[in-house]
């Protein structure tokens, strides 16, 4: 997926002009290019950040229904949090509808939130080492949460209550 023209910042310029272009990277210009400087290739051949941007929006739309619905059911309807106990969860997970609801909410909220956190870590961590380890920690927490949450939904055992 590498772009052949991206390997050289000067692209296909004739050699006698390359020196002039290189001088635009002098610190005093602060990265502002000379007028009519050949366009630099910004794209690296990967659209990952664009898909990530789109995913935040698409998952957000679905999460509005899933999460706000979940909060309404858990905190407001029929006595809210006071009626929640093991039997209540068993009753809900007897229905595939709520199992799928919770599974979709688990995966989407976790991936949406983790992708948001990935961006935030990139924004604030100053040293590459810190950044790397925070991202590793984040990835581990995602695998743990999604794995454990899915496992619990799929292997829930209603006979424990009797």
């Amino acid at each position: 997926m590498t772009n052949p023209t991206a390997s050289s910042p000067v692209g296909s310029l004739p050699p006698d002009l390359s020196g002039a272009v290189a001088s635009t990277s002098d610190a005093s210009s602060r990265g502002i290019e000379a007028p009519r400087a050949p366009r630099r290739r910004v794209r690296t051949g990967s659209n990952f950040e664009m898909y990530s941007w789109l995913f935040m929006r698409l998952s957000g739309i679905v999460l509005v229904v899933l999460v706000l619905g979940h909060l309404l059911i858990m905190n407001v309807l029929d006595g809210g949090v006071h009626r929640i106990n093991w039997g209540f969860v068993a009753g809900r997970w007897a229905s595939p509808f709520w199992q799928i609801w919770d599974l979709a909410m688990l995966w989407l909220a976790e991936l949406h939130g983790a992708n948001g956190l990935r961006v935030i870590i990139n924004d604030y961590s100053r040293r590459p080492g810190t950044r790397f380890w925070l991202q590793v920690l984040l990835a581990v927490s995602v695998v743990l949460t999604v794995g454990l949450g899915s496992f619990v939904i799929f292997t829930f055992d209603p006979s424990m209550g009797s």
Binding site: R57, G60, I84, N85, W86, G87, G113, L117, F156, D157
Partner: protein, 143 residues
């Protein structure tokens, strides 16, 4: 990281300005709040999945942990969580309208006020239903 003023001959180059781009406008605060509420919800979710996984251990252990959610102080924190998630959801819809609706950028400020209005109108009955029983029991009412 240093803030020293570089000088090149007679020309003094000021250090790059640090701090915010919006410089305190509503657009900045709505973004700050979106970020904080998103992170808060993410951390809650981590804890929430651990709590819920106790249904797989035993009914007693799950019931014990869920009792904590019925404690008056924790109940108040739940109100905070619901308020945070509701803000994040409404502001997320506003972000999507700014991005995808051709008139979105023009109405972004108006949409922020509408968003805060909707948040308030939903939270008033929300707080009532979430806290009514807790407050009643606290003042000696029946369970």
């Amino acid at each position: 990281m240093s803030q020293t003023v570089e000088s090149r001959g007679s020309v003094t180059v000021p250090p790059p300005r640090r701090g915010s781009v919006y410089r305190g406008d509503a657009g900045m605060w709505s973004w700050v709040a979106h970020r904080i509420t998103g992170v808060l919800t993410f951390f809650f979710l981590f804890n929430h999945v651990l709590d819920t996984s106790l249904v797989r251990v035993s009914p007693e252990s799950y019931n014990e942990i869920i009792e904590l959610y019925k404690n008056p102080f924790v109940n108040l924190m739940e109100v905070g969580l619901v308020g945070a998630v509701l803000y994040h959801a409404l502001n997320g819809i506003r972000i999507m309208l700014i991005d995808f609706w051709s008139k979105g950028p023009k109405y972004q400020r108006l949409m922020l006020w509408i968003e805060l209005g909707v948040w308030f109108v939903v939270m008033v009955p929300g707080v009532y239903f979430m806290m009514e029983r807790t407050v009643r029991v606290m003042f000696g009412g029946a369970e």
